[in-house]
Symmetry: C2
Subunit: 395 residues, 2 copies
């Protein structure tokens, strides 16, 4: 945790304290408490100290594992599991006991707790800037190492996926197509190679490398034209297959992210042109990454490559459903998506920001192409944390 | 989704609508919208209809996949990615356009959105009862089937774990102990069998059966005495090893849950007694499961077995750190932990409730024992959704 930056950013709060009510699912909570509690618990930052309130079940582990100055448990407030009003009374007592009469909460903090504290005459303000997310955006060397480690697992998983795709036979060419299998379908061991099969291979590889996973994308053909379609069913030759992997290290909880697009056989002329354009958009965007540039600048660099080739973007047509229909990238850390944004209005880049750069083109009639690297902003540019070839033909 | 129950429970709201602002990570959102959006989006229930507001990136998929009556996108409100106030203006316009001037939000809805709507003169009330969670608690036959399927994957994973443990050699008995390996450590292929190795086997098995996973627990010895310790390092003979697996079906998003405790070698007298007691507590609790009984009744049945054997529980000592130090179980569905609670104050059971029953005993000096089955409450008792033997000696 970047404690100096934390103290700095929270020092000028308009409230006496900063309050989180969340489980480890919430990256702010994980960051500030340093504790992996599966159920929601309270973390209060006040006067430079971090205070935790957890259930009896978590107490033992919290006292040894949390990055907190004090840890208390429900029994300290004679609270028994269950009663809603009693729980809110306990929360108010916990806050007030630390000399705190007003708190800031992040925008996604629970309204139930906020209103309950207000009823108990503790002022609650929404921290619209989400300061903890701003603190989290700039990584320490240790955090960068954690992300780099997760990206190494990602590289192994991408390798496994690419090999599976590259080694496929094509029904009707290398192997007979019959009534059950259409010509052009990719085959492994005589069976259609499906998105699900490649996903399984990726996820098993990630597990073997100490990573958990959320929702891997292996999408071919028209499915690849929807950037959030995870893909299903048989993959086919001459189509673009988007493989987007975002593992999370089980040990550190930090995420990585990478996308490659592969083709077996002969992509058509448009797909080939899209791949070249997207590779150029990636390079242009990466060239724009440096401290002082904004996320909007980097996004603009990618958009310009596409726009000058006549491809629609959200800048030229906010309602377009084809072309470059997402932002150029996002910060990554304890969340897969966090600050800064590489998009219109995206904030200024600082050394220590870890960001994805991931231009792409989409059209259900053609398919989808996306290439994504993960980089860290340095004093004079960036370091690419991704060590994986950019190539369309699967090898 | 239990639409009748939903309409019924939301019909007498004190507000014009019910509003969710959450991603698919939120079970209420997944339930009401039927949509797996990775980033937060709005779902408004009003006049018996479900309305979604999603980003352009999600729009195509939402129109085909969501269980919604209408789907709109940000561009319909001329909103461009980024501006906070503009986003809140869009949210208010979306709500008001549906004829809604006041909304209920669940207790864990985001305070940022609640306060922003209030500033725009839309009343926001906290639904302290979390009605959607109450609706979700009673499962349809389809939901029960989904949970049963996930439990089948769980059984395969438990089988893989038990075989790995049962097939271990013991250093200093079956195989030599040397400077690196202490006597009593379990060995596979000459290497210490670790919690991490067993967890990996479990999770790979779950993936092969179409399930994702969160945090599997494989904890032996003193680690097992902390119910939320996931376990790490070598497992040992003559100790109790708790294996707690909670997979989530990737297809349906429904969870399952099961715990077994295994021992290789000779457990001491106390551990043996604890295992018998816990098996009796499980049976007593299961016997108490029927419609009309409360979660508190079921919890009491388990507690009484332990208390009459002189073991501390939270009922006899709220601050105890040894004995039976958690509730007897919880509802399960789209969340691993949901209504009803089998604990002090736990609500009345209804047919269709799917619950875990999981008594256990803990003491760092002795270890931990927990046995957990997953059952559905029926008209006249319960059906056990768990098909796995209860035995201490791993086979």
């Amino acid at each position: 945790m970047n404690r100096t930056r934390l103290d700095d950013r929270l020092a000028d709060l308009d409230a006496d304290g900063y309050l989180l009510d969340a489980s480890q699912e919430d990256a702010n909570q994980l960051y500030l408490s340093g504790f992996t509690g599966p159920d929601p618990f309270l973390t209060l930052y006040a006067d430079g100290e971090v205070h935790l309130l957890v259930s009896g079940l978590e107490y033992g582990r919290a006292t040894t594992e949390a990055a907190a100055d004090t840890v208390q448990r429900h029994a300290d407030y004679d609270y028994e599991y269950g009663g809603r009003e009693e729980r809110n009374d306990m929360y108010a007592a916990f806050v007030r006991e630390k000399g705190v009469d007003s708190v800031s909460m992040p925008p996604r903090g629970p309204v139930g707790t906020a209103d309950a504290l207000r009823e108990r005459e503790i002022d609650v303000f929404v921290d619209g800037d989400d300061r903890l997310q701003e603190v989290r955006a700039v990584k320490t060397d240790e955090e960068i190492d954690a992300i780099r480690e997760a990206q190494k697992a990602n590289e192994a998983a991408m390798r496994a996926a690419e090999e599976l795709i590259a080694g496929a036979e094509v029904a009707g060419e290398d192997a007979p197509a019959d009534g059950d299998v259409e010509p052009g379908v990719l085959l492994r061991d005589g069976e259609p190679l499906t998105s699900e099969r490649v996903t399984e291979e990726i996820e098993v590889t990630l597990l073997r490398h100490g990573c958990a996973l959320d929702e891997t994308i292996v999408a071919g053909g028209a499915q690849a034209a929807d950037p959030h379609d995870r893909g299903s069913g048989p993959l086919r030759a001459n189509e673009a297959v988007i493989v987007d992997i975002f593992p999370r290290s089980k040990a550190t909880k930090y995420n990585a992210d990478m996308t490659r697009t592969f083709c077996v056989g002969e992509p058509g002329e448009i797909l080939r042109e899209w791949y070249d354009l997207t590779e150029r958009a990636l390079e242009a965007a990466l060239d724009a990454v440096e401290p002082g540039a904004t996320g909007e600048d980097v996004h603009a660099a990618a958009c310009e490559v596409y726009e000058s080739a006549g491809e629609p973007t959200f800048r030229t047509d906010p309602e377009t459903e084809t072309g470059f229909i997402h932002s150029t990238g996002h910060g990554i850390g304890l969340d897969v998506h966090e600050s800064p944004r590489l998009a219109s209005g995206g904030e200024e880049l600082e050394p220590g920001h870890v960001i994805t750069v991931e231009p792409g083109l989409y059209d259900p009639e053609v398919g989808g192409v996306r290439i994504e690297d993960l980089v860290v902003v340095t004093e004079d540019g960036y370091d690419n944390l991704t060590d994986y070839p950019v190539r369309f033909a699967a090898e």
